[in-house]
Amino acid sequence: MSPAILLLLVILAYPIFYTVQISFAEMDLSTFTATQWVGWDNYLTVIEDDRFWKSIRVTGVYLVFALPLQLLLGFGIAFLVNAEWRGRGIVRALFLIPMVVAPVVAGGVWRMMLDPLWGLANYVLGMFGVGAIDWLGDATYAMATIVIIDTWRWTPFVTLIATAALLALPREVFEAAKIDGANWWTTFRYITLPLLVPVIAATFIVRWLGAVKMFDIALASTGGGPGRATNVINLFIYEEAFRSLKFAESAAMAVIILVATMVLTSLFLRGTRRLENRF
């Protein structure tokens, strides 16, 4: 136990402490050290920065669309994949493949496929009579782009968890329901869904913890653009810190995001527990 605790103190607890420290200080860029205690100044600067709030909003929109979409698609596809036949094992195994494509590679390859002039996506859509879509140049479509790429990469993860959960459902209960004359909807609403709630909740938490860190896909596909339309918060802080060298303000933003993530995660954990008790 102790080696892990020691390591975590050095590489997790200390950096967080140091970030908090920088966020209250002024940075001297000639020596890269914190010089002077400035109180809440950096926080005030950040809170008055429209770009910060814009990034928060962009991240929120991405989360609100991507997470439910991935859960719905994941469980839906799991239902299809679980149909009993000889190739089921192979199909399940193949779903591992998108998960092991590095996000930055996924972002790059999708950017190639979504190229407005020559990309494959617009060609295929064109066959169905859809006009060329400016996937990366239009603010709304650019957001759709990162949601699509993220969903492509993470739905298989949900699918694999869901296939295992669906297979673990107790058969007898469903047979009993059938004998009692329950129809498709009542079976789903009163048996399947309550039995799945713990898994759905756990999957949601895991995906949420991953999705708030959204960075690579946005960087490689849209680069945060057009304008700031897909500039998710991690990308924004990264650029402020390492391109504009505003370490103190970035640290303040990082602390705000850290606290917000912790609070939201605790709320979600409490919420999922309550949800599990209700069903």
């Binding site: 975590l8 970030t19 890269f32 149909a83 493949i97 060609y123 860190k213 990264y238």
Partner: protein, 286 residues
């Protein structure tokens, strides 16, 4: 199985819905695999063949992207860096994390539940909150652009991940195993090493693989903490994709992508049963 039973199964009418489900599952799988296949195909095309209307599916494959653009670049060198860093970080966090996970699963301490919640919360720490101080500290200590620095940085998210997965795994093992070992004169560590580790090998292995993959594809820390000597493949890919001066070189990007994905895919498919089980347990247990 007797012949009569098999005959009975064949006679049972299979509803159309069943075939629709199979078809839907295969279709979904195909859709999700397509971008990977397209990447591999593109990597064997000449630059002029990459963007054509209609898209080319049948062409004379060329190795030009691999030989002239990759072999003579720094990609092989970065690939080696990635291997070193990913396996180093994976192994270190597996050792430290599984021991801590075992302690959390077994030792009856007040606040063990709180520790569990803390680990989960620590998985929510935004990496950028660690990247800024790590950059400043390692710059001060002269540790920038160093494999060890990157390995340690990766442990910051891998150790909580391993602790979480392995805690759930160890909790599913019966306590009687160690009690028996202790009766036979094993120390606590002896019981862990001789009894728990051997029967946990599948869980340990799948956790190791996931950790290596997570380190393999990590971008943010690699961007921040390295610049020449220790840079990894994701940094190279981000550079190619974000090349606004010459435009992205898709041939090279897809070739590098293929090179990084193929070994992981082969490896993942070889141990897929363990991986799928580890994945499902990790998300739902604990």
């Amino acid at each position: 199985m007797s012949a009569s039973l098999r005959g009975a199964r064949r006679r049972r009418p299979i509803p159309v819905g069943h075939y629709l489900r199979i078809g839907g599952g295969v279709l979904a799988c195909g859709l999700f695999l397509f971008p990977v296949c397209w990447m591999v195909l593109t990597s064997f095309k000449l630059p002029v063949e990459i963007f054509t209307t209609p898209p080319t599916f049948i062409f004379k494959p060329t190795l030009v992207n691999y030989i002239s653009n990759i072999a003579h670049s720094d990609v092989p060198y970065r690939m080696m860096n990635t291997v070193i860093v990913a396996t180093g970080a994976g192994a270190l966090s597996l050792v430290a994390g599984s021991m801590a996970g075992y302690a959390l699963a077994r030792i009856r301490l007040r606040g063990a539940a709180t520790m569990g919640a803390l680990i989960l919360l620590s998985r929510g720490v935004p990496p950028i909150a660690l990247a800024v101080p790590m950059f400043l500290v390692s710059r001060k200590l002269g540790l920038l652009d160093n494999h060890i620095t990157l390995i340690l940085a990766y442990c910051s998210f891998l150790i909580p991940y391993v602790m979480w997965l392995m805690r759930g795994f160890f909790m599913s093992l019966p306590v009687e195993l160690e009690e028996a070992a202790k009766l036979d004169g094993c120390s606590r560590f002896g019981a862990f090493w001789r009894i728990i580790v051997p029967i946990s090998l599948p869980g340990l292995l799948s956790t190791l693989i996931f950790s290596v993959i997570l380190a393999w594809e990590e971008l943010l820390f690699a961007l921040v903490l390295t610049n020449r000597f220790a840079t990894t493949i994701p940094v190279a890919v981000a550079g190619i994709a974000g090349d606004t001066v010459n435009g992205a070189n898709w041939g090279v990007l897809t070739a590098v992508g293929t090179l990084t994905v193929i070994p992981v895919v082969i490896f993942a498919l070889l141990v897929q049963k363990w991986l799928i089980k580890g994945l499902a347990d990790g998300a739902t247990k604990g």
